[in-house]
Each structure stands twice: as structure tokens, then as C-alpha cells.
């Protein structure tokens, strides 16, 4: 899935314009980056945690629900 397809999918689901979805997604990413910078982690329910590694690398620690969902399908 490319970023274009990704934005199209969200805009269809929420009945939003592509411009707005792009703006919102950018904003969300910026908030995520800032929070990782400040607190070194961000928790998202039903998805997982974005953490900072020892080597300053960002890792995704997925939730159990998320793993189950993927493996079921």
C-alpha cells in the first residue's frame, strides 16, 4: 500500500477531502515525532507502542490484539 492509496482509503472511510486527510495525517505524524522526542514513547490503544531503542532507533512494540488480528487472517 502506497501513501497515496493510504490517504485515499482514509478519505473514503471518513468522507473527508484528500487535502484535509493529508493535512491531518501530517499533523498526527508531527505530534507523534514530538512526543517520541520528549517522552521517548507513544502508546496507541489496539495498535502498540512506539519506543526509542538503545541505539536511538524507533521500534514498534505491537499489542497482543494486533498480533492476533494479523495471525487470524
Amino acid at each position: 500500500m502506497t501513501s497515496k492509496e493510504f490517504i485515499n482509503f482514509i478519505s473514503k472511510k471518513l468522507n473527508l477531502s484528500k487535502k484535509d486527510t493529508r493535512r491531518y495525517s501530517k499533523l498526527l505524524i508531527e505530534i507523534l515525532i514530538d512526543s517520541i522526542k520528549k517522552e521517548n514513547q507513544v502508546e496507541i490503544l489496539g495498535f502498540g507502542k512506539f519506543l526509542k531503542n538503545k541505539n536511538d532507533k524507533i521500534i514498534l512494540q505491537p499489542d497482543k490484539e494486533f498480533i492476533q488480528e494479523i495471525n487470524q487472517k
Binding site: F6, K13, I33, F47, K57, L60, K73
Partner: protein, 321 residues
């Protein structure tokens, strides 16, 4: 950061309700889930890539119980952050591969030799440059001297003589035969040079003879012109001398005309009579075409008239009587 805080901040910045913000974030991450569940790679620009990683099934022995366990196949989501995020979040400077290579090399160089040391080394080297030049010159002179001495020495000459003699023996030649060959060649060269010299002499002598003949002809012509001139002048002067009863002698002079000179003045000065300008004009008829136009730098013949008085002799004779 909690999930609630995230939604609140997002609603603040985007100026949306809390519910819509929550809905957007939910859909954002559910779409990623859907993509991964289809075993597809999800690319989000400026954020990173999400891809499913397959871990194959394993059989493990439990150390505590000693039982054998079978771990089934697993698919785990994997996140590869984009370079932009990595550069923003990490405390280190992140650069491209090319930049990193250059950065590493520069760092190595800087660590190995500090800049101040390099400057000092260069300044020291600059001080030693004249000494180095002198050393080089001395070295070349010494090498020349040694080579000259070696060539002059008897041992070296003998050594070369031996080498040459061995080489000649191998070829079946001796010094005498070589000398004969060299002499014959030398004689050939001498003969050729002699022939060439003779050829040159013959050609030059003929040309010289021609030149001499032409010179003699020109001299004869000049003599004829002189004689003609003398005859002309005598014809002119004779009647005048007869009138005066004086003896005269004539000498030709080459005269260079100066500024403000006229034939009238010249004849008055040298020929004792200004009316003789006609004679002057006739003698130099080849050079002077118009008697009113003579220019400075022009060379003309002037017949000098020298008078000899016979009256004194006659007086002496008369007194004796």
C-alpha cells in the same frame, strides 16, 4: 504519551472535536492493520514503512520441565522509521551514505593529524628548502666528478677494453681488421671532400673571371667618359685663355651641392667667370636636366681652372735685355 493525551493534542492543533480526532486516529491505525493483514507493505511518507515479518515454526526443549514444545508460525508487524523521523528524534547527526563516507574520512584525518601540527611541519619544511637545494647541487657535482674520474682511471679503461675485445672475438673480428675498415672509410670521406672542393673552385674561378671582365669594361667606359669631358672643357676654356693671353690648367673636382648653391655662383667661384655656368651645365648634362633646378646632396663634376701667369717671365726677359 497516553492515547487520550494524543487525541487531545491532535484535536487542539487540528481544531477539531475530540470525537472526530479520535475517529481519525483510529482509522489511521486500522488502515495500517488492514494493509498488514493482507500481507502488504504499508508506506507512509515522512513517517516510515510497516511490513509483516514471518517467523517460521520452531520446536523447543523447555529447560525447566524438559518437555518438547512446538511454537507455531507467527507474523509480526515491523516498523522501519523514515530518515526524516530518525534525524529528528535521534541526538546524533544523520547523513546520507556519501556524506557519511566523507565525514568519516575527514574525522579520521582530523584525529590523526591536528591542523596546527600540519602548519608547523610546513613552516619547518620551508626553512629547510635552501639547504635541500644546496645539497642537491653538491650531490650532482659530486656525481659528475666521480664519473669523470672513473672514466679517466686506468682500471675502468682496461675493463672496457676487455669487454670490447671479448665481443670482437665472439664476432670473429680483430683490432687490425677494424682499423683497416676505418682507414678505408676515412680515405673515402677525404676523397669525396677533395672532389667537392675542386668542383667548388672551378665554379668560383669561372664566376670570378666574369666579374673581372665586367669590372674592366666598366673602367674603360669611365675612362672614355672622362676623356670626353676633358675634351669638352678644353674646347670651352681655350678661347678664354687665348683672349687673356694666359696659360690655364684644368682639374676635375667632385662637388656635393649644398643649400642655396647655384650654377652661376659655382662657376664664379671655381671657374673665375660666372658666364661659364653653361659649360658646367653641359659637362653634367646627364645629371642636371634643368639648370634652374639643382638639389642639395647632388654630386657634380666641376672643372677647376688654374691660371699660370707668363707675364712675369716676359718681364724678366725684358729686364735682362
Amino acid at each position: 504519551m497516553n492515547y487520550e493525551k494524543l487525541i487531545k493534542e491532535f484535536s487542539k492543533r487540528a481544531e477539531i472535536d475530540f470525537e472526530t480526532a479520535a475517529e481519525f486516529i483510529d482509522t489511521f491505525f486500522t488502515t495500517i492493520k488492514i494493509g498488514l493483514s493482507k500481507n502488504e507493505k504499508v508506506k507512509i511518507s515522512d513517517f516510515g514503512n510497516f511490513s509483516p515479518k514471518v517467523y517460521k515454526s520452531k520446536i523447543i526443549k523447555n529447560k525447566e520441565t524438559g518437555e518438547i514444545e512446538n511454537i507455531p508460525e507467527k507474523i509480526l508487524p515491523h516498523y522501519y522509521p523514515s530518515k526524516r523521523i530518525f534525524s529528528k528524534t535521534s541526538s546524533k547527526d544523520v547523513k546520507s551514505k556519501k556524506e557519511l563516507k566523507i565525514y568519516k574520512i575527514n574525522n579520521e584525518i582530523e584525529n590523526e593529524i591536528p591542523k596546527e601540527d600540519i602548519k608547523n611541519n610546513i613552516s619547518i619544511f620551508k626553512k629547510f628548502i635552501p639547504f635541500l637545494i644546496i645539497l642537491l647541487v653538491l650531490n650532482t657535482l659530486l656525481s659528475f666528478y666521480i664519473s669523470f674520474k672513473l672514466l679517466k682511471s686506468r682500471y675502468v679503461r682496461n675493463y672496457f677494453y676487455k669487454i670490447i675485445s671479448n665481443y670482437l672475438d665472439e664476432k670473429g673480428l680483430s683490432y687490425n681488421t677494424i682499423n683497416e675498415i676505418v682507414d678505408s672509410k676515412f680515405q673515402e670521406v677525404i676523397n669525396k671532400t677533395e672532389e667537392y672542393n675542386q668542383h667548388l673552385q672551378s665554379t668560383f674561378s669561372s664566376q670570378l673571371q666574369k666579374l673581372k671582365e665586367s669590372q674592366e669594361e666598366s673602367l674603360e667606359k669611365l675612362k672614355e667618359i672622362e676623356n670626353n669631358l676633358k675634351i669638352r672643357i678644353e674646347k670651352m676654356i681655350k678661347p678664354l685663355s687665348q683672349k687673356r693671353g694666359k696659360k690655364t690648367e684644368v682639374k676635375l673636382i667632385l662637388y656635393e651641392i649644398k643649400k642655396n648653391d647655384t650654377l652661376w655662383d659655382l662657376s664664379k667661384k671655381y671657374m673665375n667667370n660666372p658666364y661659364n655656368w653653361v659649360g658646367l651645365y653641359q659637362t653634367n648634362g646627364e645629371k642636371i636636366k634643368d639648370p634652374h633646378k639643382i638639389y642639395p646632396g647632388m654630386k657634380i663634376f666641376i672643372p677647376l681652372i688654374i691660371e699660370k701667369d707668363d707675364t712675369k717671365r716676359e718681364d724678366k726677359k725684358y729686364n735682362k735685355r
